[in-house]
């Protein structure tokens, strides 16, 4: 279903206390939707993501997140996520509970969720943290060979949010380029919100394209530039400067909060946000 306003879609689909996956792998990160979560003051969220980056740093920094389920949290090519570190190291603004995965186990957990299975199976990595961390990893025996494998509990988010290139008016979604784990994250979720660069009459086939049929998508919303400072292949380039500047901006709590007040809470829409940070 096509929804006109992102704020309506977030209000309808994401509730305090939900388990939410805003997925994206450098490409197609749903920043606009994350900002709207901040504007609407969502709290107590459990966030899932393979590669939490700046938008998760922002959500953590405003205290919206109770628990993070993840495999790698950093500012790619730049360094640390300072709000994430401040929450984990100093409990500011609130303690952050962590569930650690590896990339392979996160992917397998989404695949299991998308397949309506309670667990996924991996070859084990004995002698590492995965071997004694029963919250995320448990042992399972192959009933044919007797060999020991690692099971990972399925991810079943209440809501998955992704950004994609485009959708048609019935809600079929099309993405291409680096596709990451987004399809699995959408199919694993109870509800799915997709922001897109544009809504078109007909989705012409694209090489490397993935179509997510409308029935798997609860709401589609046109948010041009909705991945900024991440990028949307065929529509926008990655704003590498923003990622670098975030490092300085996010080191200091006050400066971070001022940035959020001015550029997120102080803007009503993503277009206003982009304009306020000079990205339009």
């Amino acid at each position: 279903m096509v929804v006109d306003r992102l704020s309506d879609a977030i209000a309808e689909l994401v509730h305090d206390g939900d388990v939410v996956a805003l997925e994206g792998f450098t490409h197609l990160i749903p920043f606009a939707a994350g900002h709207e979560l901040i504007r609407q003051g969502r709290r107590d969220l459990t966030l899932l993501r393979m590669t939490p980056d700046l938008i998760y740093d922002q959500l953590i920094g405003v205290g919206a997140v109770r628990r993070l389920v993840f495999s790698w949290g950093g500012n790619p090519g730049v360094g640390s996520l300072h709000r994430f570190r401040d929450a984990v190291e100093n409990g500011w603004p609130e303690p952050l509970e962590l569930i650690e995965h590896t990339h392979a186990s996160m992917a397998a957990a989404y695949v299991a969720g998308a397949s309506n299975l309670p667990f996924g199976v991996l070859r084990p990595t004995p002698g590492t943290f995965t071997a004694s961390y029963s919250q995320a990893f448990r042992s399972v025996l192959c009933p044919f060979t007797g060999s020991e494998l690692t099971a990972v509990a399925a991810h079943r988010p209440d809501v998955t949010v992704i950004h994609a290139q485009r959708a048609d008016r019935t809600g079929n979604v099309q993405l291409w380029g680096i596709i990451g784990v987004q399809k699995e994250a959408v199919l694993a979720a109870n509800r799915a919100l997709v922001t897109v660069e544009e809504i078109v009459d007909v989705l012409t086939p694209v090489a490397g394209g993935v179509t997510i049929p409308a029935s798997a998508v609860t709401a589609v919303c046109a948010v041009p530039g909705g991945a900024h400072p991440s990028y949307t292949q065929g529509y926008s380039r990655r704003d590498n400067a923003f990622y670098r500047e975030w490092d300085a901006m996010s080191r200091d709590r006050e400066r971070f909060l001022e940035w959020i007040e001015r550029h997120v809470r102080g803007t009503a829409t993503h277009a206003e946000h982009l304009s306020s940070i000079g990205a339009l």
Partner: protein, 260 residues
């Protein structure tokens, strides 16, 4: 070669270890720089695989992240993230996994999770990423890290990724398929596991690096090969190609815009 920085020497030494035609699973940063350098020197058919699902990426500049668009646009194939990990890495189709880390111990086990304790960390690091799986399933593992006392430690604060575990035959006994780390390339030289004990031995030093520097930069009593080799100095071509790559990279990523 004159005027090569230790970092350049390290990157070039790492690049040299990659054989042409190998499937190489690379993380961003030092591994990616070395692998892309190798592709421009002796290994034009090196197949670069990134965690984002690109197989056979041929970027013109170094990616800032594993999900840069150029990695997809220049790839032989782009697959989903579940697929790159299950059908490629776990399936044993990767020849060389190329890793860095914050800490390494004498058996080449790695920590990229936390400094201090997990429950009350002094420094929270990014976490495992794909490292435990890469180290488990790649046929062999190369590690590239700056050799420093706080990184080459007696005891890891957290064992994110398996090298040779407790040494000896602990790794194969645990059921790992891949051979594990075969080489640690640092800014001071090269360490390789002893064939029996699997403890890392300093087998080479870069030109001009005294063995005392390596010992001082290592947090355990360092075994040194006798004789210890000296890395061949970077050639003029190696250095020129690396610097051109870095200049091109800096220029490509330089578009700057004030966000505040």
């Amino acid at each position: 070669m004159s005027g090569a920085t230790p970092e350049e020497v390290m990157t070039i030494a790492a690049a040299r270890t990659l054989r042409d035609g190998a499937y190489c699973f690379v993380g961003v940063g030092l591994p990616s720089a070395a692998a892309n350098l190798a592709r421009r020197l002796h290994a034009p058919r090196l197949v670069l695989c990134y965690e984002s699902g690109t197989i056979g990426s041929k970027p013109d500049v170094l990616p800032l992240s594993i999900g840069d668009g150029e990695l997809a646009e220049t790839a032989d194939a782009v697959v989903s993230v579940p697929e790159i990990f299950a059908y490629w890495l776990q399936a044993g189709r990767i020849d060389v996994g190329f890793l860095g880390a914050a800490q390494i111990d004498r058996f080449a086990n790695l920590n990229s999770t936390v400094i201090g304790s997990w429950t009350s960390p002094r420094v929270r690091l990014p976490g495992a990423g794909g490292a435990p799986d890469i180290a488990a399933h790649a046929r062999e593992v190369l590690i590239i890290m700056r050799q420093r006392r706080e990184a080459f430690v007696e005891r890891l604060d957290f064992r994110t990724t398996a090298g040779f575990l407790e040494g000896g035959d602990a790794r194969p006994r645990s059921g790992y398929a891949g051979a594990g780390p075969t080489r640690v390339i640092t800014d001071l030289g090269v360490l390789e596991p002893d064939p029996v004990t699997r403890e890392l031995v300093q087998t080479a030093l870069h030109p001009g690096v005294p063995i005392e520097a390596a010992r001082a930069a290592t947090g355990w009593p360092l075994h040194v090969a006798d004789p210890v080799e000296t890395t061949a100095p970077p050639t003029a071509i190696e250095l020129r190609v690396l610097r051109e790559l870095q200049i091109r990279t800096a220029r490509a990523h330089a578009e700057t815009r004030l966000a505040q």
